[in-house]
Each structure stands twice: as structure tokens, then as C-alpha cells.
């Protein structure tokens, strides 16, 4: 599967790792991952270590996640982005909405 979700031992953080292409094809899995993560989750981490490519629909999915977990009050970190993916996030100015490491 292109997406795995792992909840931390304390149940407060869920880490979603996207392997391969982050595009519309994982839309369903991505949504399920955060909708099923449970109410105890305070922090969301998107791990892009294995992500090769990201398109604008992925940006849309990140916005949906942000909206789902409370918009302004959300705490979403995007980690391990490659140079190309950082560039895409940068062009969209997503650093204003997400914590990008």
C-alpha cells in the first residue's frame, strides 16, 4: 500500500507515510487514515521520506486534512520532504499553514 498510518504509543500522534506518488490515487486511503485515527490524536505528521512525487491534488488533500482537524487550530507537521517536494510546498506557500521541517 502506498500509505501507512501509525499511531504513537501515547495515542496523541499519528504519522502518515506516503510511499511513491502522492496524488489523487491515494485520496481514499489518505482520507480513511485520518478519519479513522481516532479522537485522541492531537498531532498529525506527514512523513514524505518515501514520497517521490507530489501533485496539486495532494496539496488539496493536505488542505482537507487541515480542515478536518480544525483548520487554524490544527497541528500538522510535514517531515522528510525531498528538495523537489519542498519546492512544490514552497511555491504554494504551505509553510503558512503547516509546519514543514
Amino acid at each position: 500500500m502506498a500509505l501507512t498510518a501509525q499511531t504513537s504509543a501515547d495515542g496523541a500522534t499519528v504519522t502518515m507515510s506516503v510511499i511513491g506518488r502522492f496524488d489523487f490515487n491515494i485520496h481514499h486511503d489518505f482520507r480513511q487514515a485520518y478519519e479513522n485515527a481516532g479522537d485522541s490524536i492531537k498531532n498529525y505528521v506527514i512523513d514524505m521520506k518515501g514520497t517521490e512525487y507530489m501533485d496539486s491534488s495532494a496539496l488539496g488533500m493536505l488542505l482537507l486534512l487541515r480542515d478536518h482537524v480544525g483548520g487554524e487550530k490544527s497541528n500538522i507537521r510535514i517531515i522528510n520532504s525531498s528538495k523537489d517536494i519542498k519546492k512544490i510546498l514552497e511555491i504554494a506557500n504551505f509553510n503558512k499553514l503547516f509546519n514543514i521541517d
Binding site: G60, L63, A92, K96
Partner: protein
């Protein structure tokens, strides 16, 4: 082996019309009896040509065919029946006394679907009829679904074509055909979410917008309609880029679901001031190439795309740059950078810039990069996602061009009018209402002033906030000198406005014909204590401290600015020409 079971066969689910062909009447009668017992109806034919005629006449669901008959034999009859059935699947089962393999193979070659050697088992015959009836039913279901799909696809195609024309009318802009704009945009670009709009501003400058919606298809195209509408309408009325992006952002946020947004870049070219203004939210670096063919300016994306955040977080700050005649501006969507070639390589930012830099001759540069890009992609369908625009700063402050939706502005239809109006705002109004949009809207109804909207807005806004902040609220601009104080100033201002109980601001606007145009006098008076205006100098320069800047700016835009009374009256004179 073959069992002759005479047990009670269940009557078939479906009653079929079966054409039975045999030259022996006794065979026909036997078959008819078997078929009837299973609930089917038999149509009898005695030879091949009789069978073809009966097939035409009765349109049976299935055929049981003898091979050896006088006249036309079973092979030929089957060939003709299959040809006449066309797309309809009418199974033919051969019943034959022949049992050599070659003869049986011929049964299938001429179009037969199955065969049974005589003497045949009644049970097996009925089982085969059942099996072929199921296949036939499946066949017609598939065929019906296929026809339905073809029909729907056809309809969608037609609707898209109609939509494409409707969109083309909405997006239509005579400005896109101006010689200073070259662009590459696939004909179906709109359904890929790419949007290119261009219009002349009332002041004569050029404005271009490149938009790129997330997603494809109808959802992206639907968003494009209000964007184009707002862009053309507000540009024609002289609104600034900041006001347009604010309005588009608000609109898209209202109509689009959270995951959908529009990356956009707006560019203004003002030949009078030789200025490029840019707002970039989510579009790759906009590049400005100078005369020598080098990149001397990049407008990088500084903002979130349109439709993502609300007004409170939305930022309309523009970036500015000077331009020289002949400079070229390049805008493109991420589809250009992310275009793949058949070997799986990406076009990339570096390759794009290489193409731009390698073409020192501005004339051929656009064709060079367009051909380079199209060659790179090769013959692939995803070239649809590409939008690439070259905008040449031709330096013409052309007022001869059509301004969006306004026709030619060269010959004003209304001559400057003489009128005056006075507005007075008390504390209740000032607490809850920003009168500026109303004032500006009123002024814009004067035909000749449309091209001056941005200047007039600045002038009136500065004078009004001067009267409110310093005259009525007594705030000290010196606070704004530090970044910390700047924020504090606006917090304090918001508190003071909310608590405002007395004081009035009166605005007099007087307009009169003057020379080839008109003259507008803007007088703003507040009921505050005023200030010692004689001891201050208002010159806009580098060293101007935070507090004098607003008035100095007004001074630079107006013919004159004067204070009178106890410093509570400011009067600015703005004259304009056609």
C-alpha cells in the same frame, strides 16, 4: 453415455422462438414436441432458403439447423442468417448425422455456435439451448450497456464542446490577441484547470492573470467562471490587483470545497511609470528577462493560492519592479516544469531557464521555448496541462485598445461634469462602517475618473485615516516607528474606534471641467483639535519617518495639498485629462 431421460424437465425460464430447419418432416415434428415440452415455440422450415426467409420474417431467438438438405444446405443458410442477424446474437446449433471431424469443424467455420450429432439426447439438446440462451442474454446486455456508454460518452463530448464555447465567450478577451502577448495553452486547457485572462486597464496599462485550479474537469472549469467575471468586471472599473485577488479569494472560498483552490499570478504593466506590479500565490517563479537576455527579476510565490484562507489571513502585498521597453515577462504553470518526456524525465525549472537564456534574441525566444517544450514532451496526451505566456513590455500606454467590456475609452462619451457632494459621518457610523468603498464607487461613476481609481483611492484613504486616526482618535504616528509599535498602533486604533462616542468627519468632493479634463477638490474636515501644520514639512523621501509618509504620498499624487483652520482641514486638488 447418452441417456434418454424422460423425466419431468422444468419448463425453461424464458420462452424462446426457435427456428427449426430440416428436410424431414418427422424430424421437425419431433423437435417441435421437445421444444414445446420445455415451453419454447417452434418455427419450421424445410430447406436453407426457406430458413433464411423464415428468419427474416419471424426474427427467431435461436436456430436448430440440419446440414444436408436439398437446395441450399445448412452451412450456406447459416452464413446468410448470421449475416442478416448483424450485431444481434442469434445462436445456431447444428443437428447433424455427420460425425466426421471435418464436417463438424465446418459447422463452426460457417458461423454455427454449437453442434449435436444425431441421434441426439433430448436433455442435452435442451441444456444446450438453455446455455446458448444465457450467452445470448449476456450478449444483448453487454451490447445494450455498450450502446448506452457510447451514447453517454457522445453526449458528454457534445456537452463539453458546448461548454467549451460558452467558456470561450466568458473568457474571451480581445487583449489576448494583442501583439505584446504570446501564449501556449492547449484548447482543452480550461478543463485541465488552466486559465489565462488579459485586459487593458482604464489607465491604459495591461493586466494579465494566470490561474491554475487543483483538479481537472468540470470542477476546475466551474471555478473559472466567477474568476474571469470578477477579473474583467473589476479591471474595467479600475480596481487594483489587491482588490481583485481579495474578491476572487473570497468568492472561491465560498464556492469551492476545502481541497480545491486556484494558484494564481496577476501582473500589471504600467507603461507610464515603467512599473511591473505582481501578486503571486502558488504559481512558479515569474521571470523577467531584460534586453541582454538575462533574468533580472523573479516574482516568486509569496502568497497562498486563492480560495485557501479567509480574509483575515489573506495577504495582498504586491511586489514591484521597474521595466524597460523590450523586457519580457514569462509566466507558466507547474505543468510546464513537471512535463514528462517519453523516457520519464521531467522538463524541470533548470531546463526552462536554459531555454530562456540561450535565446538572446527576444523575437524568437517564445517560439524557441515553445518548440523546445513540445519536442521534449513528444506526442503525448498529457501535454494538455501546459500554459506558458510571454508578455512583452512594449512601453505603449495604449489608450487605443479596448478596455475590458468598456469599448474604446479614447473618445469619452461624457464630458467632465460640474457637481459637488458633501458627506458627514458621526461616531455611530465611524464605529461600524468604512465609507471609503462607497466614496470611491460614487466617484467612479464619473466616466473620466475611472482610470484614476487607484490614485484617488490612495488620496482619499490617506486623508480620511489622517482625520480619523489623528484628528478624532488622537493617535500618535510616532508609535509606528518600530515594528512592535506598529502592531501596537493598530491595536490601540481598533480599541479607540470601538469606544468612539463623539466627533465628526466631513468630506466635500467638488468636481468641475478643467482644460481637457476635470479637476476634483477633496476636502476632509474633522472636529478634532487639529495640529500645528505650519511647522511640518511633507516631502516624500527615503528619510521620511513613519508619521509624515501618508500625507507626503498624497502630495506626490495631487496637484496641491493644503491644511487650514487649526490643522483640522485638509484640501487636496487632483486634476486629470482625457
Amino acid at each position: 453415455m447418452l441417456s434418454f431421460n424422460n423425466g419431468n424437465d422444468a419448463v425453461a425460464d424464458v420462452s424462446l422462438n426457435v427456428l427449426i430447419v430440416d428436410d424431414e418432416l418427422s424430424n421437425l415434428l419431433l423437435l417441435k414436441a421437445i421444444l414445446s415440452s420445455a415451453g419454447h415455440h417452434a418455427i419450421m422450415a424445410r430447406d436453407g432458403s426457406d430458413a433464411v426467409a423464415a428468419f427474416e420474417r419471424e426474427q427467431p431467438d435461436m436456430v436448430l439447423m440440419d446440414v444436408m438438405m436439398p437446395g441450399m444446405d445448412g452451412y450456406e443458410a447459416t452464413r446468410q442468417i448470421k449475416a442478416r442477424a448483424g450485431e444481434r446474437f442469434v445462436p445456431v446449433i447444428f443437428l447433424t448425422a455427420l460425425d466426421d471431424e471435418r464436417a463438424l469443424a465446418r459447422c463452426v467455420e460457417c458461423g454455427g455456435d454449437d453442434f449435436l450429432t444425431k441421434p441426439y439426447s433430448r436433455v442435452i439438446l435442451l441444456a444446450k439451448i438453455d446455455a446458448l440462451a444465457r450467452t445470448s442474454k449476456l450478449h444483448s446486455t453487454v451490447k445494450m450497456q455498450r450502446d448506452e456508454l457510447v451514447y453517454h460518452q457522445d453526449r458528454i463530448q457534445k456537452e463539453q464542446e458546448v461548454a467549451q464555447r460558452v467558456f470561450a465567450n466568458i473568457m474571451h478577451s480581445s487583449s489576448l490577441s494583442e501583439p505584446c502577448i504570446k501564449y501556449l495553452l492547449s484548447p482543452m486547457a480550461l478543463f485541465n484547470g488552466d486559465l489565462l485572462l488579459a485586459a487593458r486597464k482604464p489607465s491604459g496599462g495591461m493586466r494579465v492573470m494566470l490561474g491554475d485550479f487543483t483538479g481537472h474537469g468540470l470542477s476546475a472549469a466551474i471555478g473559472a467562471i466567477p474568476v474571469a467575471d470578477i477579473f474583467y468586471r473589476m479591471t474595467a472599473k479600475g480596481f487594483s490587483i489587491g482588490e481583485i485577488v481579495t474578491e476572487v479569494n473570497r468568492k472561491l472560498r465560498m464556492i469551492l470545497p476545502p481541497g480545491l483552490f486556484c494558484a494564481a499570478c496577476l501582473i500589471d504593466l504600467d507603461p507610464g511609470e515603467h512599473q511591473i506590479s505582481a501578486w503571486n500565490g502558488g504559481v512558479p517563479d515569474v521571470l523577467v528577462l531584460g534586453d541582454g537576455g538575462d533574468i533580472h527579476q523573479r516574482f516568486i510565490s509569496r502568497h497562498l493560492p486563492l480560495g485557501v484562507v479567509g480574509d483575515d489571513k489573506f495577504d495582498i502585498a504586491l511586489e514591484y519592479s521597474e521595466f524597460n521597453r523590450g523586457d519580457c515577462i514569462y509566466l507558466y504553470t507547474d505543468g510546464v516544469i513537471e512535463a514528462w518526456n517519453p523516457r520519464g524525465e521531467m522538463f524541470g525549472q533548470a531546463r526552462l531557464e536554459q531555454f530562456l537564456l540561450s535565446n538572446k534574441n527576444a523575437e524568437n525566444r517564445f517560439d524557441g521555448i515553445r518548440n523546445g517544450l513540445l519536442d521534449f514532451i513528444g506526442d503525448q496526451s498529457h501535454s494538455d496541462d501546459i500554459a506558458l505566456i510571454e508578455l512583452t513590455c512594449d512601453g505603449r500606454a495604449s489608450r487605443d485598445f479596448d478596455v475590458a467590456g468598456q469599448g474604446k475609452l479614447r473618445q469619452p462619451s461624457v464630458s467632465a461634469m460640474e457637481w459637488q457632494v458633501t458627506l458627514e459621518f458621526g461616531p455611530d457610523t465611524l464605529r461600524n462602517f468604512d465609507p471609503l468603498p462607497l466614496l470611491i464607487h460614487m466617484l467612479m461613476e464619473i466616466q473620466g475618473l475611472r482610470g484614476h481609481r487607484e490614485h484617488l483611492y490612495t488620496i482619499i484613504a490617506e486623508l480620511f485615516s489622517n482625520a480619523l486616526d489623528h484628528g478624532l482618535l488622537g493617535l500618535d504616528s510616532a508609535l509606528k516607528a518600530t515594528p512592535h509599535g506598529f502592531a501596537e498602533y493598530y491595536q490601540l486604533r481598533a480599541r479607540e474606534i470601538a469606544a468612539l462616542q463623539q466627533g465628526r468627519i466631513r468630506i466635500d468632493l467638488a468636481h468641475a471641467p478643467y482644460g481637457m479634463g476635470g479637476k476634483l477638490v477633496i476636502r476632509v474636515e474633522d472636529s478634532g483639535p487639529g495640529f500645528d501644520y505650519q511647522s511640518k514639512s511633507y516631502v516624500l523621501n527615503e528619510s521620511t519617518i513613519a508619521s509624515g509618509r501618508g500625507i507626503a504620498l498624497v502630495g506626490s499624487l495631487c496637484d496641491t495639498i493644503q491644511f487650514s483652520g487649526r490643522g483640522n482641514i485638509a484640501e487636496a486638488v487632483y486634476s486629470w485629462r482625457h
